[in-house]
């Protein structure tokens, strides 16, 4: 009897769990859709700005400009901006990212440069503070939650550090969203700004009448656009001062969005998986319950029939 009640309460608790899991899945789905709408709306700006800046960086004048954010120097101090989520329950999203970073840290063992980590997202903060206790091959620059991250602030601070020469290279790590089902850790170089994202092929990049982006067929690039003649207002240097941080901020903003897309996709998939598992468990336990219950009924019936037979 006791056993039956135990099974029943177990069933009830798993059912409740499943309810919560599917609710969380719904919440993630809604959040995912919401963030996707935002990403969609922000894409034209980001793509245009990227096309514009890449086009500009490919111009011979830009190389002559020697902008401080483009100057390559010997690397002593590296800054890695790590973007993770604030909350867990999103499968191996963060674990994979952290493993990827630790791998990258191991790979540069013996290098003369030092690494500082800039941790965005509570999970990254927790993980690397613990990791720091074990090994001291990096230093933590800052750590704060993802929800407080603002692309403009990050870029302003990073550019400041770079201009002052306190860092010589800045890279960014985050969970790239390949699809709803697949997120992979990725490393994106931020500073110094490279003249072109495409492989160095100077004849192509400098050929007039075609932008490097158009050749790559990236969406948003205006393929028909002519190589721009140099009319700038104010001078190219001043424009670059304004444009490059703006471009970086746009890039970081897109990456912050993408991290959130990754997070919600991963969580949605995990919750879906978990509620399916709960359903499986429920049907198994229900079967056990039924068998047990049927057994008890049979036993009682046998008791009664034997009793009746004894009396007759």
């Amino acid at each position: 009897m006791n056993n039956l009640r135990e099974i029943k309460s177990r069933l009830r608790s798993i059912r409740k769990n499943r309810q919560i899991l599917s609710a969380m899945k719904m919440v993630s789905a809604v959040k995912l859709r919401r963030i996707q709408v935002v990403v969609q709306a922000s894409r034209p700006y980001a793509q245009r700005l990227e096309a514009l800046v890449q086009n500009l960086l490919d111009m011979p004048e830009a190389r002559a400009l020697q902008h401080p954010l483009m100057s390559r120097r010997s690397v002593h101090r590296v800054l890695w901006v790590v973007i993770s989520t604030d909350r867990g329950l999103c499968g191996s999203l963060n674990t994979n990212l952290f493993r990827f970073i630790q791998q990258a840290l191991r790979e540069r063992a013996g290098a003369k440069s030092t690494v500082a980590l800039w941790l965005i997202g509570r999970k990254a903060g927790d993980f690397f503070k613990r990791a720091l206790a074990k090994s001291a091959d990096f230093r933590i620059e800052q750590a704060y939650p993802l929800e407080e991250a603002q692309a403009e602030n990050i870029v302003r601070q990073v550019c400041d550090l770079y201009r002052k020469g306190q860092v010589d290279q800045v890279d960014l790590f985050y969970a790239q969203c390949k699809s709803t089902l697949r997120q992979i850790p990725a490393k994106v170089p931020l500073l110094p700004l490279a003249p072109s994202a495409c492989p160095p092929d100077s004849t192509k990049a400098l050929s007039p009448g075609r932008s490097a982006l158009a050749e790559h067929g990236r969406p948003g690039a205006t393929g028909t656009r002519q190589q721009r003649a140099g009319l700038f207002e104010p001078a190219p240097g001043t424009i670059a001062d304004d444009l490059l941080p703006r471009y970086l901020a746009s890039q970081v903003r897109q990456i912050l969005f993408e991290e959130q897309v990754s997070e919600h996709s991963a969580r949605m998939i995990m919750m879906d998986q978990a509620s399916k598992n709960a359903s499986d468990m429920i049907s198994q336990i229900q079967l056990d319950y039924n068998t047990l219950r049927q057994g008890m009924i049979t036993r009682e019936l046998t008791d009664i029939t034997t009793g009746v037979e004894a009396m007759a």
Binding site: R225, E233, P234, D242, R246
Partner: protein, 95 residues
């Protein structure tokens, strides 16, 4: 009158897309007008007001700082923020 393709984009959304015959932009070195066939120009914009003429219609946008990429057939305005306003409203709040 010939026209050019105009897009006004902010990080949050596309504020305007369409053909225009002429427009006035708040350049950081002083505001300037753009007609179709303008020489390629990259200009920094201050916060201010953009005027766009479409046929007989005029549109006004209050915008934050940004850049304008002008070439003979296209103008792309990339600003931090932009909102369509009425011509008589003052633009001070963006400054």
């Amino acid at each position: 009158m010939t026209s050019f393709a105009l897009e006004i984009l902010t990080p949050a959304r596309r504020v305007f897309a369409g053909e225009s015959e002429s427009m006035v932009l708040p350049g950081s070195e002083g505001s300037f007008g753009v007609l179709a066939g303008h020489v390629p120009l990259l200009a920094r914009l201050s916060a201010g007001r953009i005027m766009v003429r479409q046929g007989t219609q005029e549109h006004y946008f209050d915008c934050g700082p940004g850049v304008a990429d002008v070439d003979p057939k296209h103008v792309t305005v990339l600003v931090d923020s932009a909102e369509e306003t009425e011509p008589q409203m003052n633009t001070d709040r963006h400054r």
